[in-house]
């Protein structure tokens, strides 16, 4: 009886381990997708607004005010 109980427990454990294993494998594509999403390229609009040269114009005007008389 003891052996049977052990066998049954081992069976359940094996089943649980298998289920855990399968869940871990399923999670892999999500991780990969997450990585890909993390390096999504910026859109043209983002680049234009982020690197807009109006900031250079502003600095240019400021520099005029730094000329000492």
């Amino acid at each position: 009886m003891m052996k049977l109980r052990l066998l049954a427990t081992a069976g359940i454990l094996a089943a649980v381990l298998l289920l855990v294993g399968c869940t871990a494998e399923e999670a892999m594509p999500d991780t990969a997708a997450g990585e890909a999403a993390a390096v999504t390229e910026p859109t043209a609009e983002q680049i234009e607004s982020d690197l807009g040269t109006s900031q250079i114009d502003e600095i240019g005007s400021d520099l005029d005010s730094l000329i000492l008389e």
Partner: protein, 456 residues
């Protein structure tokens, strides 16, 4: 101990259920994260299974219809144009739609003989346009004919309007490269892309902090300047002692932070070029070298500002920094223009791969006798939208002038039109995929050859 049978029963149920549960899980996993190509394959099979009843009825009429088409094709293939071909080559032509085969039959026998060497899907593509187009292309030498057969539909139509000499010149400027949907002019590894993105984000953070510090120093410099003016009126005021030196220091601090902000802007620009996978390696290297040269110049001016001890020295260095801004602005505008246009061009290249793959799928479907006419028409529209986007990119390139605000705006508007056209093509692509899927087709998985013109 009394629970023993229950545990055993539970274990047995688990052991029995587990394999089937896992098997089901495996299937649902496959369909949960399919790639675009997997989707087509699976859905095509599903549809074939689902509508068996309807299909069975339809199939009753199909053989008679197909027999008629086959007879028509046999009649055409017996024409003079195919007389120089062996049976296996004739079989290749017989896979074409009757109207395409009819077009081929109007060619000279020696030209049909040249066509036999083309790949089946490209033979189909070149035979699908206007009859005059095929006639003109068939006159080219074998090498030219093969190259032109590998071009996209819209490019073929474009070349069809040229003289044979012009066609030859264009083909000489065109090279073919094998590509799939992940095609990049300058492929980077995931690590490189992540590193570049991280570096850019870091620069953005630095820029924010620098801007705050710069504004504080600028305010201080402006306040000191105001005091200088007041001190001219009341030179004996105690607060006016060393005011000239204080003004130099305040102005110098602000100018140094301005130079740092400019360098950070250039570093950001450089990182965007560095992270672009759609520029060519040569262009990226050339842009980076130019940006580096400007950074060196700014650093050298920055050193002059730091070393200035007199008003005259400081003013001269600040003026030099201001003069450098013109080239910096011009470089910024040019790089933004190039990165965004290259991006649009890269997307177009990847869409051309999909066009070729769809062509390949349609060719396979047609070989089984399936009528693909409606999807062919949509693929033509798709190719036209891609061609329009390319045209707009060309116009945006021509309209651009980094030193003219109106020209920059015009170029950006044209680039936006190109992106809109790409967007419309992407929507059309969904219809094409659905069309192929509904016919039970599968998207070709092999790499395709796409054209790259000099200067792209």
């Amino acid at each position: 101990m009394r629970k023993m049978p229950l545990i055993l029963l539970l274990a047995a149920v688990l052991v029995l259920i587990l394999p089937s549960a896992l098997a089901e899980g495996g299937n649902s996993d496959d369909s949960a994260v399919p790639g675009p190509e997997d989707k087509l394959t699976t859905a095509g099979k599903d549809m074939r299974n689902k509508d068996l009843g309807v299909e069975a009825k339809a199939k009753a009429n199909v053989p008679a219809e197909r027999r008629e088409i086959a007879a028509d094709k046999k009649e055409i293939i017996n024409k003079e144009a195919f007389s120089k071909l062996r049976e296996d080559a004739k079989a290749k032509f017989e896979k074409l739609r009757p109207e395409m085969l009819e077009q081929v039959s109007s060619l000279k026998a020696e030209n049909v003989e040249k066509l036999k060497d083309l790949k089946q899907d490209r033979l189909r593509a070149i035979s699908s346009g206007e009859p005059e187009r095929l006639k003109k292309f068939a006159e080219l030498n074998r090498e030219g004919l093969e190259k032109i057969s590998k071009l996209g539909r819209a490019r073929m139509n474009e070349l069809a309007n040229l003289t044979p000499k012009e066609i030859e010149a264009r083909l000489n400027k065109t090279r073919l490269v094998e590509a799939d949907e992940s095609f990049r002019f300058r492929p980077l590894t995931l690590e490189q892309t992540k590193r570049s993105e991280k570096a850019y984000e870091q620069l953005k953070e630095n820029e924010e902090k620098l801007k705050e510090m710069y504004e504080e120093r600028l305010q201080k410099a402006n306040e000191t300047m105001e005091r200088v003016v007041e001190c001219r009126k009341n030179p004996s005021d105690e607060a006016c002692s060393n005011i000239a030196e204080k003004a130099i220091n305040a102005s110098k601090d602000a100018a140094l932070k301005a130079a740092e902000r400019i360098t950070t802007y250039l570093e950001k620009l450089k990182e965007r070029v560095n992270g672009s996978q759609d520029l060519t390696e040569e262009e990226a290297a050339s842009r980076i070298a130019k940006i580096d040269a400007i950074i060196s110049k700014v650093e050298s001016i920055s050193a002059e500002i730091a070393a200035a001890t007199t008003k005259e020295e400081l003013n001269a260095a600040v003026k030099r920094l201001k003069e450098a801004l013109k080239a910096i602005k011009s470089e910024g505008e040019y790089d933004i223009h190039r990165i965004t246009l290259a991006r649009a061009n890269g997307i177009i290249k990847r869409m051309e791969v999909i066009e070729k793959k769809a062509d390949c799928s349609l060719s396979s479907l047609e070989e089984t006798g399936t009528d693909t006419g409606s999807i062919d028409a949509r693929l033509d529209e798709y190719a036209s939208l891609i061609a329009k986007a390319k045209e707009k990119i060309g116009e945006a390139k021509d309209a651009f002038n980094p030193d003219d605000k109106a020209a920059i705006e015009k170029s950006r508007a044209l680039a936006k039109e190109a992106r809109d056209s790409v967007q419309a093509a992407q929507e059309k692509l969904n219809e094409i995929r659905k069309g192929i899927r509904d016919l039970g087709g599968e998207i070709c998985t092999q790499k395709q050859e796409i054209e790259i013109e000099d200067g792209e």
